[in-house]
């Protein structure tokens, strides 16, 4: 047993897992509100990261200005995508809408490579000190920041849904679109808002990942990892998505530990979540907190 290495990996898993949780949360938000399985979630994250990177390095904007600007941009971008691309698709078969998001992810991915190149770019340092001392463990500042930001976003999201008027409208729409509409909720606005919030939250996660690892097109892998996380938590449970994300993050790193210490297969941590996904679909298809699909005829 290599305890220090294990603990290091577990901390790593927790940090990455909360980020997965945040992205999964924004994925579930779109799914719940608009019934769309969004395959472009990772690309939203990537766009956020690149925009922030461009503001910080090309235009030399300080971080505390660049970050809000990125969020404003992503908010508008989310609304734009919904209005231009997805609103005309309302009423079309659901599989067409999913294929549209697959097409979107291809376009975004390629367009970003075209604009920013294929090479990973380092993010300008945001913090002065590189590591802090917590309970005798040396933990990188960016990790602490990432954890804090993720938890803050989750709390913000919880507050938004529980207490705010918009959140209530969104929950009502998710519960039953027709009833919500007849009670005077503008379903159109709710859809646009869901995409805007989802894009913004993903962008925050994107910037955090970028600060830790630098920006590259590989970041959109987070959008793929969302699927195991969301399936594990239940496709329509926001809390489940967060928990699923953390579990998947921890599991990845445990897999890496087992791999490096005992199995030596290599690359196990990247593929382990997908095996888990298949197993969950077999034994508990609606996840930990998802609503079972029971139909009354």
């Amino acid at each position: 047993m290599n305890t220090a290495f294990l603990i290091q990996l577990l901390v790593n898993g927790l940090v990455v897992g909360t980020l997965y949780g945040v992205v999964a949360m924004s994925f579930v938000l779109i799914y719940k509100a608009t019934q769309v399985v969004n395959f472009a979630q990772g690309e939203l994250l990537l766009i956020g990261a690149w925009v922030c990177w461009a503001l910080l390095t090309k235009y030399q904007v300080p971080f505390w200005v660049g970050m809000p600007l990125t969020l404003v941009f992503m908010f508008a971008f989310g609304i734009a995508v919904q209005v231009v691309i997805l609103r005309p698709m309302i009423g079309e078969p659901i599989i067409s809408v999913i294929m549209v998001t697959i097409g979107l992810s291809t376009v975004f991915q390629a367009a970003l490579k075209w604009m920013f190149g294929v090479n990973p770019q380092p993010f300008p340092p945001v913090f002065a000190s590189t590591a802090v001392d917590i309970f005798g463990l040396q933990i990188q500042t960016v990790y602490v920041m990432s954890l804090v930001v993720s938890v803050l976003m989750m709390l913000g999201m919880a507050w938004f849904f529980k207490a705010s008027k918009y959140g209530l409208a969104m929950r009502a729409t998710a519960f039953n679109q027709q009833v919500a509409q007849s009670l005077g909720i503008s379903v159109k606005n709710v859809f646009a808002m869901a995409w805007a919030i989802s894009a913004t939250v993903s962008a925050v996660a994107g910037v955090v990942v970028a600060v830790v690892n630098g920006v590259s097109s590989g970041l959109s892998a987070y959008g793929i990892k969302v699927f195991p996380a969301a399936i594990l938590g239940g496709l329509d449970s926001v809390g489940g998505a967060v928990l699923g994300g953390i579990i998947i993050g921890l599991l990845e790193n445990v897999a890496q530990y087992v791999d490096s210490q005992y199995l030596h297969w290599g690359n196990l941590y990247e593929i382990a979540p997908f095996y888990v996904l298949i197993i969950i679909l077999m034994i508990k298809p609606y996840g930990l907190f998802g609503t079972k699909d029971i139909e009354r005829i």
Binding site: V100, I102, I297
Partner: protein, 357 residues
């Protein structure tokens, strides 16, 4: 998605035989036969380049046909078609190399094995209502590719695997000109098979599931069975196509068969028309010819102002991906029935020319 149910006004069928007819008129049947006969002379007429393009179209059209059974006729999505394609390729090469099974039998066998492996991934999802299959196939795509890069005994790991050329009864086919006929035969057989499948009870069951699975279930159609069947068929055709590809290229590497390729397969059927068998062929031709024409265009524009502004030649791969993505979105938004629908409209227009309504 509504290709089959949009029968124009005034076109009503009075007998069961008329309803299941493949060709509406004798002329259309004769033209189809004429087309096939002309294709038989293609190796003598086409240049090397066009021959290889048409072989590619044929191979990919088989895989796309399988996907169209799943997407267009059953209403499920798979984004693991490239993974199964590759599995078919490696399987055929492997059983041919290791067990000395002739290529002639290895190709269909590879299809069957691919279908069985596909069912391992598809079964848990096909039981569920909703679109869980798309997520399961996403996992399948990653797991399969990871497996290929690991399993050196099977796929050579990081080294590309080699495959033997196609041979029948001791006679080995050499070169594109002879291989063209193999692909043509497979394309014809699979297209006729699937056309006929859609005229049977099973085919209609699939369409019923797509249109309204609840009503279909109430009428006694077994949801799990038919979803599994259609997913198995999709994997089967992917495997066949992969095997054909393996014995065409003779070297198989997993380069270029990631998730982008799966999306490309989806693009083929969206462009051609989901739920249209002939459309699949058109869509495949479109998707295969698009990069070729973009290449040609960028070559011709070399040195012009547009080329300098966009740096076309350096970024042609990205531009190609952007074009594919935009075309997928565009077709879904503005022409959801694809090229097949457009083709029907053109035919109707000329049928009544110059007195169209």
């Amino acid at each position: 998605m509504v290709a089959r149910s949009t029968i124009p006004a005034g076109d009503f069928r009075t007998s069961y035989a008329a309803d299941t007819m493949i060709f509406p008129t004798t002329t259309s049947r004769n033209f189809a036969i004429l087309g096939v006969v002309l294709l038989c002379f293609a190796p003598q007429l086409f240049s090397e380049y066009w021959l290889s393009v048409s072989i590619q179209i044929g191979i990919f059209a088989i895989a796309a046909l399988g996907l169209n059974i799943l997407v267009g006729f059953t209403g499920q999505i798979s984004i693991g078609q490239a993974g199964f394609f590759l599995l078919g390729a490696f399987t055929s090469a492997y059983i041919n190399n290791t067990y000395a099974i002739p290529v002639f039998f290895a190709i269909p066998l590879a299809g069957v094995i691919t279908a069985l492996v596909g069912l391992i991934f598809g079964l848990p999802a096909a039981r569920l209502k909703g679109l869980y299959l798309v997520i399961a196939t996403l996992a399948a795509q990653y797991i399969l590719l990871d497996f290929f890069s690991r399993a050196e005994w099977f796929s050579g790991g990081s080294v590309p695997a080699s495959a033997n050329p196609f041979s029948v009864f001791g006679y080995t086919l050499r070169g594109d000109r002879q291989y063209f006929y193999v692909v043509l035969a497979y394309v014809l057989i699979s297209y006729i098979l699937v056309t006929n499948l859609m005229r049977t009870r099973d085919g209609r069951a699939l369409i019923a599931l797509r249109d309204h699975y609840l009503s279909a279930e109430i009428m006694g159609i077994n949801l799990t069975k038919y979803r599994t069947l259609s997913f198995g068929l999709a994997a089967f055709f992917a495997g066949i196509a992969g095997a054909l590809y393996a014995h065409y290229q003779l070297v198989i590497s997993q380069e270029g068969f990631g998730i982008e390729r799966s999306i490309l397969f989806l693009a083929m059927i969206i462009i051609g028309g989901t739920g249209s068998i002939m459309g699949t062929l058109m869509g495949t031709a479109f998707v295969v010819l698009l990069p070729e024409s973009m290449e040609w265009l960028s070559h011709n524009l070399k040195g012009s102002a547009l080329d300098k502004a966009l740096a076309l030649n350096n970024n042609i791969t990205f531009l190609r991906e952007i074009a594919i993505g935009l075309i997928i979105i565009g077709f879904l938004m503005f022409e959801p029935d694809g090229l097949a629908h457009r083709w029907r409209q053109i035919k109707t227009y000329w049928k009544l020319y110059p007195f169209s309504h």
